[in-house]
Amino acid sequence: MPLLSVDELTITFAGRGQRDARAVDGVSFDVDQGQVVGLVGESGCGKSVTSLALMGLLPGRGVRLGGRAEFDGTDLLTLPAARMRDLRGTQLAMIFQDPLSSLNPVVPIGVQVTEILARHRGMRGEAARKEAAHLLDRVGIPDPTRRLKEYPHQLSGGMRQRALIAMAVACAPRLLIADEPTTALDVTIQAQILELLKELVDQEGTALLMITHDLGVVAGLCEQVNVLYAGKVVESAGRRALFDAPTHPYAHGLLGSIPRLDAPRGEALRPIRGSINDRIDWADGCAFAPRCDRYTMECLTGTPALTEPHTPGHQARCVNPVLPEGATSPQRTEATG
């Protein structure tokens, strides 16, 4: 049984006097114990909202949740708030995008770390301070005892993110959700932070749900990748399979639009036309169709199903998938699960 099993998750924002906006439209994916799973997509496709929903951090009013998100057998979406608060930090933890704004600017780092130790592990005073220093040391912050007394603005961006990671792993959670943890950092620091996350995952057996728009991060870290478009998973595959044979035209386009060092000289990048449009509903056909080079009238008859067009375990939601060279004609087998 997977550690986290998200099944047909829908998130709808209802504004007064406004049309309901469906941010996430039936997303399903699994995260196994110790596995690194990527949730990839451009801004506005529903990645961050998914992570907030899993953590129970969406505001109660104006948001409707549907589907299930089973974590170790309990449905996170229907869990009472008090039980959810106990899970957060101990079983589930989250790292956010911007390390500066995610730390309280007027409180020293040490207080913010020990606060979590006090809350979940009942540690106080000298013991908590020692453990906090140990945690900072473990995430690679030099001179941790001094750093504990410092304020967030005195740390560099990379160090702030390390401190946040230290806080997130303070109680050895079983699932870590990282929402674009490297977006706000320099490229060199990005690599260090990814390295650190990988190390923690390997050592502790923590499962990691990596939310990102950066395919480079995915290539370096994730075992299983789910590509999101307009609130639905459009492709789900292992990392190798996805990069070798991107099947959904969207994933194909994404990979084609990345600058590569080994591309022939003078070859232009192939960007995907247009931008995501949240007015488009999957019910009227593929939401990607207006931007797709391969679309036919068939694309506009109902929601395309998630199928395995060429390889078992490699799912794509497309009626005209991009097939790898030498693959047999589309089998159109309904995906299971």
């Binding site: 106990d86 930090g89 956010f96 911007d98 730390l103 309280n104 913010q112 979590i116 806080m167």
Partner: protein, 317 residues
């Protein structure tokens, strides 16, 4: 070879020293920036001078401020006043008392009214606003209801013109210095309450609050340990600025005759009110206390503005 290692050593020293050079907490940082601000220094000097004056005024005043020592020289009915001269630097007032001594001694009451009134408004306002903000941050039906009830009362107070509210309170409580303090203080309550609640609401949606919640920190701790400390700086700035308004409003109440019933006791607002009658003949009698009020209010305003800049996180380097 050795010069090269020397260079490297020196470089290492340099990089090591810059690391410790950056400031400390928010308050240390704000203090450092305050010291660099001309506005803050001017404001602080003015306030400092005013405070010293208020403290030592009664001892350095050359004459008794209530004694009519030159009764034979001032005739208000014939418009005969005594202007500045060697023994009375600022001349005599309409009852032949030394104007300079009265100004010196009056500073104390003016400062006292300003500080006590602001403290009163700040304390009650911050308690009310803080509790409403905390209740909202804690969420739940009860918290929302508490906030609604409390803030509507505050809105009602805010809807009344401040001077009218102060006059009403003064009229109910009767004429005394305490009345002025309470009246001016009560007027400040809704301002502080709204400000702190608003700041807490704004902070409540910040990333670090969500981040703390994502790690399971309890709501009470989030409200008091994270949201409240981050919301204090606008309130502190407002307190400094309020001192200026409090002094002006206290003067206005005294001017309207709702202040200290003992008119002999010098107070800048009262002095201004009394000078009004003889403004044609002796305009300087109104100018002195007015200037005093303006300069002190300006001092507090300057310091407040400088503090606003020093505490503004957007301007922090």
């Amino acid at each position: 070879m050795s010069t090269k290692t020397d260079k490297i050593d020196r470089l290492a020293e340099l990089t090591a020293s810059t690391e410790t050079a950056t400031g400390g907490s928010l308050w240390v940082e704000a203090w450092r920036r305050l010291k660099q601000s001309k506005m803050a220094i001017i404001g602080a000097v003015v306030i400092g001078a005013f405070v010293i004056l208020a403290v030592i005024g009664p001892w350095v005043a050359p004459y008794d401020p209530t004694a009519q020592l030159w009764r034979g020289e001032v005739f208000t009915n014939r418009n005969i006043f005594v202007g500045p001269r060697a023994e009375n630097w600022f001349g005599l007032d309409h009852l032949a008392r030394d104007e300079f001594s009265r100004l010196l001694v009056g500073a104390r009451q003016t400062l006292l009214v300003g500080i006590v009134a602001t403290l009163l408004g700040f304390t009650i306002g911050a308690l009310v606003g803080g509790s409403a903000g905390a209740a909202l941050t804690l969420g739940g039906k009860l918290g929302q209801r508490y906030d609604t009830v409390v803030m509507r009362v505050i809105d009602m107070m805010l809807a009344l013109p401040s001077l009218l509210l102060a006059v009403t309170i003064a009229a109910v409580m009767g004429q005394s210095l305490t009345t002025v303090m309470v009246a001016v203080g009560v007027v400040q309550i809704p301002i502080f309450a709204r400000l702190l609640r608003g700041a807490m609401l704004a902070q409540g949606g910040k990333d670090y609050v969500v981040a703390a919640q994502a790690l399971g920190v309890r709501k009470r701790r989030v409200a008091l340990g994270h949201v409240l400390p981050n919301s204090l700086s606008p309130v502190i700035v407002q307190a400094t600025l309020s001192l200026a308004t409090a002094i002006i409003e206290a003067a206005a109440l005294s001017y309207l005759g709702l202040g200290n019933p003992d008119a002999a006791e010098p107070e800048w607002g009262v002095m201004l009110a009394q000078a009004q009658k003889y403004f044609d003949a002796a305009p300087m009698l109104a100018v002195y206390p007015a200037l005093g009020i303006i300069i002190t209010a300006l001092g507090f305003t300057l310091l407040g503005e400088a503090m606003r800049e020093a505490l503004d996180p957007k301007l922090r380097s």
